[in-house]
């Protein structure tokens, strides 16, 4: 019955990997809040946070301390168990997504055959946190936020899945490593060139899935006070924000892995500029991810919020037909390539 030494080492290495990934991602999430405030400030010709530390660099730490020491209020009308559980659901399902994402050709916590499907599944489950938070608060604004989130996720999972279907068909595999490898071997080098339509659909759906502007209707502060987080305070609210930023990172990673070739560079670029091969693969991936995080913030600073009926009609009338069209085009391309 004794655990063999190999198993022990396997568990130890896995725990170490989890610690490394979690530490790096949490640090990134904390400093994305700072970057977001700074970038949106500069885009509105303001300075952003400047007071704590040089150029306000210690602002995330100050925020964390403030959130930790605030009073945790639970409303009288709330369903207590669900109310306390909901933020954890959001955080847990956001973090679980990280376990199947490869950060390097040979580094991923769990090498799953169905990586893309697992991410889709956990993204769907993560909304339960938002919906239940809205329901259990016992306030009208929260409930409306939760309902909006439910309708939004239900309608945006479909084009998300359909646009990923094109990528999966092109790579003939659900594994993220295989998807990246197939892009590196292909003629175009990146999936975004043959499937520009699918990429646009996926990008719009990623904004909606992470509840970011311009689709942040569950927490529209001009209509519902703060949506589903109206009644939350202190550290529970902080957990909601952490979950949102981590899911932002997951989506950015997924975009850069599925559509931009992950850690590889297209062949036409390396033949044009041979010295670019020196860059280590993880750095390439990280640069792509940073660009998409910047895009998330950029879009938030630029566009106003959509109305709810507009949101629904975009999904059902525009994105789903476009995703199907993209799927047909990729099927045609694949058929031409095979025959």
């Amino acid at each position: 019955m004794a655990l063999s030494e190999g198993l022990f080492w396997a568990i130890f290495v896995t725990l170490l990997k989890i610690a490394v990934v979690l530490g790096i991602v949490l640090l990134h999430a904390a400093y994305t809040v700072y970057a977001e405030r700074k970038i949106i400030g500069r885009m509105q010709a303001r300075l952003g946070p400047m007071e704590v530390g040089p150029y306000g660099l210690l602002q995330p730490i100050a925020d964390l301390v403030k959130l930790l020491f605030k009073e945790d209020i639970i409303p009288q009308e709330a369903h207590k168990v669900i109310f306390q559980m909901a933020p954890l659901l959001v955080l847990v399902f956001a973090i679980t997504n990280l376990s199947v994402i490869p950060f390097h050709p040979s580094f991923s916590i769990a090498d799953v055959n169905l990586g893309v499907l697992v991410i889709l599944a956990f993204a769907g489950l993560g909304t339960y946190g938002i919906i239940l938070a809205g329901y259990s608060s016992g306030s009208k604004y929260s409930l409306l936020g939760g309902l909006r989130s439910a309708a939004q996720i239900l309608s945006y999972e479909i084009p998300l899945g359909l646009s990923l279907a094109g990528v999966i068909l092109y790579a003939e595999s659900f594994r993220l490593q295989d998807i990246v490898a197939s892009q590196a071997n292909s003629l175009f080098g990146m999936n975004v060139i043959p499937q520009i339509l699918g990429f646009i659909v996926f990008l719009i759906c990623a904004f909606a899935e992470t509840n970011r502007a311009p689709f942040d209707l569950p927490e529209a502060e001009s209509e519902l006070v703060a949506g589903y987080i109206t009644e939350y305070s202190g550290f529970r609210m902080g957990i909601f924000f952490l979950g949102e930023y981590i899911s932002m990172y997951v989506m950015a990673l997924l975009i850069s892995l599925c559509y931009f070739g992950g850690w590889t560079l297209p062949i036409w670029l390396t033949t044009l500029l041979p010295f670019i091969k020196v860059i280590p693969p993880t750095l390439i991936l990280i640069l792509k991810v940073y660009f998409f995080i910047f895009l998330f913030i950029w879009v938030r600073a630029t566009f106003p919020r959509y109305r709810f009926d507009q949101l629904m009609s975009i999904s059902w009338k525009v994105l789903i037909p476009l995703a199907l069209l993209n799927f047909l085009w990729i099927a045609f391309l694949k058929w031409r390539m095979l025959t």
């Binding site: 970038i39 500069r42 303001r46 300075l47 400047m50 950029w298």
Partner: protein, 184 residues
């Protein structure tokens, strides 16, 4: 049809994104207040003061009550007595409620002797209402605090003046702007 093409290439959305990107590389307009301060122009209307005459050491006010009449928010209250022999008025009390003031500057324009002015001093506050109801001594003290900033002997402000009136028709102390002599 042309409109549809515009939608297809996201012309409006990309234009909006480019505007924000342009602003991103611009210099921010923020002034970090306690460390750096905005440059105040001479036309700024700030804390009220009664000009202290360097010769007598008293206010210049002649109690003509023009400021009381012209004030839109009725925040000035002046008490005076009339000398029975000469008929000259003497100002006894001058109360100004800064909380009600709308900083229109009519009082300093209309004053024939340039006694009440709105200085370029904006950093003032109080913890209670009574701290912002200025009486005569307080207004004079405001003037002293204000002129300490200007080491020059003569301070001229052409904005403490009537607009659109020919120079000839103005009372003597107000021609060419108010010349205020600071004590020697």
């Amino acid at each position: 049809m042309r409109k549809d093409l515009k939608y297809l290439i996201f012309k409006d959305l990309i234009g909006g994104l480019l505007i924000t990107l342009k602003t991103f590389f611009r210099k921010p307009v923020t002034v970090q207040y306690p460390r750096e301060k905005v440059t105040l122009f001479p036309s700024f209307r700030g804390r009220h003061a009664l000009v202290r005459d360097p010769e007598t050491g008293e206010a210049r006010c002649v109690a003509c009550l023009k400021c009381v009449q012209v004030c839109p928010s009725r925040c000035i209250e002046v008490k005076f007595e009339v000398d029975q022999e000469t008929g000259a008025r003497k100002m006894l009390a001058y109360n100004l409620e800064a909380l009600r003031c709308i900083y229109c500057g009519y009082c300093e324009e209309v004053c024939p002797v340039g006694a009440i002015v709105l200085t370029e001093w904006f950093e003032y506050s109080s913890r209670d209402r009574s701290g912002l109801i200025f009486n005569k001594e307080r207004l004079l003290k405001n003037w002293d605090e204000f002129v300490e900033r200007f080491p020059e002997k003569v301070y001229t402000n052409k904005f403490w003046n009537l607009k659109g009136v020919p120079e000839v028709l103005k009372p003597a102390p107000k021609r060419e702007g108010i010349m205020v002599k600071v004590r020697e």
